[in-house]
Symmetry: C2
Subunit: 190 residues, 2 copies
């Protein structure tokens, strides 16, 4: 059976264009399905239930993430993480929800692979692992456990930390938390 | 003479940690210089005059950008570009300035190479070129010329557009502009 590749996308999306170029460069044939973001299609809701965002790439019925899409979700971890420590009340609850959703999507993409690129530590692992040093600060400020929601992602992080190149490069989580307390004070956040 | 590599960084920066891991993975020895972002050092201002931000990597006295730093600047192009069409007056002028500064930094990093990765079209080119289809909308909304400030970057974009994988994947700049007019109307921006 030939592979069936479908791209749910919108014409004007720069993130979609990245994936279109990557697929063209690899010579992958695919069916392009333009999405209406105001009135979202059932297939979009089914294939990307977490974010309901484009682009979504579907390979033989299973949604997959191109590395260029993953980079976009990594940015969302950064944004949501910052809001977890810098806001309170409803805003903070929303930030925790956003953070966990982005992390769950990354965890789903990781699947049962040891690293994001597969068997070897690669570009995406380098891009994402620094956030791990901030998890303790997010969890303490937000009074929640990331591991409870994303156990496989934490396993991945611990696997990365076994590499000296990683463990020696990352900040100490306790020092990051102390730094966040300084930032909160400086910005007048209780 | 041995290569001299210096990293201007702050301990808590996730962007800095990425570069530290990448350098460690490549086995590059370097001098680490912790920066005070409240009271910036002369060397930081000299080596990153555009953004005055960390991390900065200096190789034999010349500042260079790791691909993981470049990805960060690409995100800034996205952010600033959005503000160019969605704001007016002083906010728009600030957005134009931010956009041109990010683009100039990318142009400086491109240098005389045909592509960001060197002789071949690669990951960073794929990540950046989609913005080119939005340049016409930014320029028309902001009444300015990107080519006037970044001629080499435009040469690079035209070089990328000679590839069918790119030209067939990107949106038509005129259609993007029409779409921006729809967005402005929908958001109540004159």
């Amino acid at each position: 059976m030939a592979d069936e590749v479908v791209l749910l996308d919108t014409y004007y999306s720069m993130f979609g264009m990245r994936v279109r170029i990557a697929l063209a460069e690899k010579g992958v044939e695919y069916e392009y399905r333009e999405q209406n973001l105001v009135n979202k299609s059932p297939v979009l809701l089914e294939m990307n239930p977490v974010h309901k965002k484009i682009p979504v790439l579907i390979h033989n019925g299973k949604p997959i993430c191109e590395s260029l899409i993953i980079v976009q979700y990594i940015d969302e971890v950064y944004e949501a993480g910052r809001r977890v420590w810098s806001t309170k009340g409803e805003q903070q609850e929303a930030a925790k929800k956003d953070l966990l959703e982005a992390l769950k999507l990354l965890e789903a993409e990781l699947g049962d692979k040891p690293y994001f690129g597969g068997d070897n530590f690669g570009f995406l692992d380098v891009a994402l692992i620094p956030f791990y040093s901030w998890f303790h600060a997010y969890e303490t400020c937000g009074n929640f456990s990331i591991e409870e929601h994303c156990p496989k992602l934490i396993e991945w992080a611990k696997r990365c930390m076994e590499k000296q190149t990683v463990s020696k490069s990352l900040a100490d989580p306790n020092k990051v938390y102390d730094f966040v307390l300084v930032l909160k004070k400086r910005h007048g956040i209780e």
